[in-house]
Symmetry: C2
Subunit: 434 residues, 2 copies
Amino acid sequence: MKDLNKNLSNAKSSSSTTTGWKVGSSTMAKTTFNPIRNILETMDLAPNPKKEMISLSIGDPTVFGNLKPSQVIIDAVSASVQSGKNNGYGPSTGFVPARKAVAEHVSVPGAEIDENDVILCSGCSCALDLCISALANPGQNIMVPRPGFPLYTTLAKGLGIETKEYDLIPEQNWEVDLTHMESQIDQNTVAILVNNPSNPCGSVFNKDHLKKILAIAERHYLPIIADEIYDYFVFPGQEYIPIASLTSSVPVLSCGGLTKRFLVPGWRMGWITIHDRNSVFAAEVRKGLQCLSQRIIGSNTIVQGALPTILKNTPKAFFDDTIDVIQKNAELAFSKLSTIPGLKPVMPSGAMYMMVGIDRSIFPEFENDLEIVETMVKEQSVFCLPGKCFNIKDYVRIVLTVPGESMIEACDRIAEFCHKHAKYSSSIPKGLMA
Amino acid sequence: MKDLNKNLSNAKSSSSTTTGWKVGSSTMAKTTFNPIRNILETMDLAPNPKKEMISLSIGDPTVFGNLKPSQVIIDAVSASVQSGKNNGYGPSTGFVPARKAVAEHVSVPGAEIDENDVILCSGCSCALDLCISALANPGQNIMVPRPGFPLYTTLAKGLGIETKEYDLIPEQNWEVDLTHMESQIDQNTVAILVNNPSNPCGSVFNKDHLKKILAIAERHYLPIIADEIYDYFVFPGQEYIPIASLTSSVPVLSCGGLTKRFLVPGWRMGWITIHDRNSVFAAEVRKGLQCLSQRIIGSNTIVQGALPTILKNTPKAFFDDTIDVIQKNAELAFSKLSTIPGLKPVMPSGAMYMMVGIDRSIFPEFENDLEIVETMVKEQSVFCLPGKCFNIKDYVRIVLTVPGESMIEACDRIAEFCHKHAKYSSSIPKGLMA
Ligand SMILES: Cc1ncc(COP(=O)(O)O)c(C=O)c1O
Ligand SMILES: Cc1ncc(COP(=O)(O)O)c(C=O)c1O
């Protein structure tokens, strides 16, 4: 009884420092901050009521209704749920047939993997979350591209992990500035994240360039986290090469999923594939990933049950049609925006985005790309994502998954906006530019 | 160029400390350890080849095939995917109609919530993960029940958060030892986790007891994380009371989902409902939860699309039938196991488990409950989860969702096992006990 009282008074004295309800959120909650989502979910964007809104902002290819998933995969999900076989818990890494299907999907000759090298996740975001949290401790850092998809930093920061940016070079089709990349690696660097094909750039790295990145990883003994969610999502004539297929020494965790190319972001079906011909991950990382996958016990089993059919039977024509829409939009937007004073679009080779550079000397009334974006919404009801979302200044990112007419209309409105706001230096007669 | 060389040599000198490939996993990966899953996925349990295995171990009501989800919810999912409306990204907290349906599902008169108080998650596990990570920093602690579901500690430990156990009292239907609970609260305690109905105990707290727990929370200004995944999953005559309905001052994050009562664990549909009539979470915690939900962008949208139908149209008879199976098994197992020397089953009131105490003085050849479980698998092909999984000694947990015949057969084999291994003290003649 004495002991008990002692404990009780301990408790009381400690909580007596609390004089009322003051419940704060954790540092992790405070430092988990996703700029894109935050803009979309909390920004009060007031479009021009006289013009219908055209949103070129969100990387969701389904929002316009012009791009729909293949009926094959819809029916595969119906069949999966009706079978009654996919309602129970799967292993936290996913059902074996589903993992086998992913292993086949990502294997390339000479770099085959099997179902034990696959972890199914709740979307590619979750795959990235597991990879980052399996490899890095608070205070350590991961190299990420600039411009780049902001989720990497969101995920890392929330765990006290730093990101260090390596630059991409717009003039070289957004290839990595290799010298800059290598210069940024320090003793706390634990991995290099490579996103290919790229969001936001739409760039696709060639074999030679990927090998140069691998050489840096090899020199510094750094594993690669490959964000390959846009795998094979490239324009005709372009080649997608999985980075893991080019190395037998550098261990690679590749993150992918159905989200983009299959046009089903909401299904939350992503995966990690482990490429480790050198057995570097055998000691700890494999087990670490498996343990981390047990936190939330994997992804939806209905989709898992459909995954073999989805990956094997989706017709090639479906992918070709999607790419065709995107490529046409890319060419259209590129040719239109290239003629507008102050804009420098960079032609993509894949994925579903285009970066458009803004010469702010031509638009002196705006402080930054964010203001340009907001004003463009207000006046033209066209919403692009500001470069700020991707850690780069003086760019906006446009998505290329809109219907063709909307793409034309959007470009025309952007042109009107730019012509209205462009201020030409007196040395160049206005007539020459317009 | 000079600067560049300097950077390069920095990088080199740092990585020169690494002489080869040594890639370890993070502390988070190393400390995320789920005992149940680890036992199931890594244990090499060799059953007696002459007896068919009866697994009373895993909390997946679908594994035996006797309990199936309602056709209503299967069809709702088919309709959802065929509609083509639920393929895109939802808000990271979930589609509004789905959140509305959850708000209605969990609201009780006088304690209504709306869609803004709901966050859909990838299973209840993910809901718990978000709640724990939103409230606690490394070094802080959360009170959890003992015996209790091991995931709480798994989730917390991985983030450097401690758990402090409060005891449940088997002799009082596993009610909380309130004195012990209060004695364990210290200045680093940030929340009390209450699991009702309970896994592994199958206990259901009454109003009076829940109020006493709330009084402790109130005295110490501690919010409650309520794991209510077994909500309304109680035997006839028992009452499930959401803890949040009994307080207007203590803020409650309740975690629930479809997993158990709807018999679809693989679907990964869980939720957090925020009950905060006192607006304690308004300052930070709500925003924190929302930000954390953006890490993996919510749960499968096909199931979200079906959620209003699932929650409104699942026939009451479906739930009654499930409970009936479980209650019959509970009564059967209780009456059979009560007569076995050395066993002390505790009759549950809900959920789908029963705890069975083991008097180890009767089984001196075994060091602990783990050895008993392993030997029972080897000899009788009956697999129960050792109390160790739930942080308690000298108990095993059995699941009650098996077909009736299997329950009988399992109990008979357990009886055979106990009779074989029981050693009676010389003062009690063996004949009297057998
Ligand atoms: C480069 C990149 N990686 C990962 C993701 C996340 O994919 P998921 O929706 O499968 O989580 C996205 C989505 O926009 C992306 O663009
Ligand atoms: C008490 C308790 N909470 C949470 C969970 C996890 O539920 P879910 O499968 O929805 O993540 C379980 C599953 O067994 C459980 O028993």
